[in-house]
């Protein structure tokens, strides 16, 4: 029980540090940091929280989350919402939106962490391909769109972000191929 409690405190501390105004400003001043550092950090905090929830909580959730479907559906809804550029933009300018982000994104991570292992492997495969395709589609969009999507970020920022998404998607594809074709594990996906 003790290590779990300690982990919980660490996670809370991490969340608070991310929310501290200087840290927040630092991470949100560029689109790349915002999207590829802050958001993933929030998701990871949620994911680990999901793993270390007390057993009786997990037992209470389980009947509502058969095969992980409810949790994944919730995660997808939250994810889709935060994929809209204008809400990310609003999070920077308006504190209630920012607060919502700091609450819902970790919840999404938690839902994913609890539900992913329970999900049917085929559904996992479909979602993985869909996530991968989303990286590629958004990367392409961010590179090619003529206008800025966010009032708060420069076009050049948007372009760099697009390139990074495409890069990440490509690395993912190679890692996946190596693993399935030859059983070589680079990262544990």
């Amino acid at each position: 029980m003790y290590p779990k409690a300690k982990q919980a405190w660490l996670l809370l501390a991490a969340l608070v540090i991310l929310a501290l105004p200087p840290m927040q400003r630092f991470l949100e001043q560029s689109m790349v940091m915002h999207m590829l550092v802050q958001i993933p950090a929030l998701v990871i905090i949620g994911w680990i929280t999901g793993k270390i929830l007390p057993e009786n909580w997990k037992d209470n959730i389980a009947p509502w989350n058969r095969w992980g479907i409810t949790g994944i559906a919730l995660a997808i809804i939250i994810m889709t919402y935060w994929m809209l550029p204008r809400v990310q933009d609003a999070a920077i300018s308006e504190w209630p939106v920012e607060l919502t982000k700091f609450i819902t994104v970790p919840i999404m991570g938690m839902a994913l962490g609890i539900s992913w292992p329970q999900l049917n492997p085929i559904a996992q495969g479909v979602l993985k391909l869909e996530f991968w395709a989303t990286f590629m589609r958004l990367g392409w969009l961010y590179l090619d769109l003529p206008d800025r999507l966010c009032a708060n970020y420069l076009l050049s920022d948007q372009r760099v972000f697009g390139q990074l998404l495409l890069l990440a998607g490509s690395i993912w594809a190679v890692a996946w191929t190596l693993r399935i074709m030859f059983g070589i594990r680079i990262v544990n996906t």
Binding site: I122, A133, M136, W140, L141, D144, L145, P146, D147, M181
Partner: protein
Amino acid sequence: MSTTEVSSKIEYSDSEDRNALIAVKSHLIAGLLVFLLMMLAGLAMRAAQGTWLEIGADLFYQIMTVHGVGVVGAAMITSTGVQWYFLRQYVKLSNGVFWTNFFIFLTGVVLILGSIFVGKYGGAWTFLFPLPAISMGAWSTGAAAVFQLGLLVIGVGFLILYLDFGRAILARYGSLSRALGLTQLFGKEPVDYKHPAAVVASTMVLIVNFMGIAAGAVVLVMGLINLFYPEFKPDALLMKNLIYFFGHVVINATMYASVIAVYELLPRYTGRPWKTNKPFYAAWFAIVFMVMGVYPHHLLMDFPMPAWGLIVAQVLSFGSGIPVLVVTGYGALMIVYRSGIKWSTSAKLLFLSMFGWAAGVIPAILDAMVTVNRTFHNTLWVPGHFHFYLLLGLLPMLIGFAYFLAGEGDSKERPKAVDSFGFYAYLIGAFMTSMVFLASGANSIPRRWAAHLPEWIGFAQAGTIAASLVVLGMLLFIMRALISLPGANNPR
């Protein structure tokens, strides 16, 4: 894993087997019926080009779109039925997933039919950007979107099915390279002559189609975004690359899925086993890359394409088809030679498919040469080559399998007169249909023209007559399939 374990078959419960047989038959019957309807559509197009039938240009392009997408879909669903029937004997596949794909497929079909005949979409099955968005009033943005959505839905269904294939193959063989026979090819394991050809072929199909669907998932959504947000103009050449990668892989793979019927059935009819060996593995390994690398032969006239891509495409196109064709064609000849084979309709069709495939790639290879393509690009030469190996290569495999499943392989009866008549009507009709297309192409008649110039009409009329023969043969095949298939027991 010992050799005996690798070659042993999977056990299913009786009810699972019964359900599986119904599922395979549903795939076959649905697919063959769509083929028949699409052949009628083809006949109508040919008759319209030959001025024997009066249809407006907009309807012509709707028919052309439904024909293209319909036969590709039918080829996918029917060949998947064949593949699944054999693959499940070696790895544990789920009936539920197989059915799921079938129903998702039907949903996609409804969407696509709606987009074409209600929404009037006529931008061809290749939905080449930016055509779907600039119909000049012939169809709405919504119709084009529903068409692409239908394709996307069908892609998801197949993705689910391939994930099940992948899961089952990995569960049994550990990695796809082992299932492909690469560990044997490169000497890490002794060669196992009983390693099932169905597993090798299915692994190849699984890999390339997975990649094809992944590309499709990206490009279809980019097309959809462009439809609703025209300021977003993706790079047209990149879109074309992805579309042709997706389209070429998907239709090409149906051939490699269906050829499993040849590997599995010819040995039954000749009483000689089909042994896998190193050349066989090498051929299938090569084809994984070739099927994915040849598609730029559709882009030979796109001058901004990087030259290396086109050179690779030309070289691979020369080689593509050859490895598997050689091991399969040679294997088929060797297995049949002096075996005392009984020429049932199924055996005849399977053997014909070897000819259709082998002969059909020749015009394809010719056209993949840049110098030839300069003249033949977008002429009826192109439909000539693909109708050749689809009508005479792919369909005979599928229909041959249907005959096998209808119980013909078991019975001692000789082929009925109707079957023989159907066979020859089909053979001659299909051969003529393809040759007339090729001759038209050689005479520089363009493809995808609703109205033909007076000088070309003779060709179209000859094509119409040939097409009616195909339809007649197919009609007889279908009637036989519909009568005998539903009640037939699983052939032992």
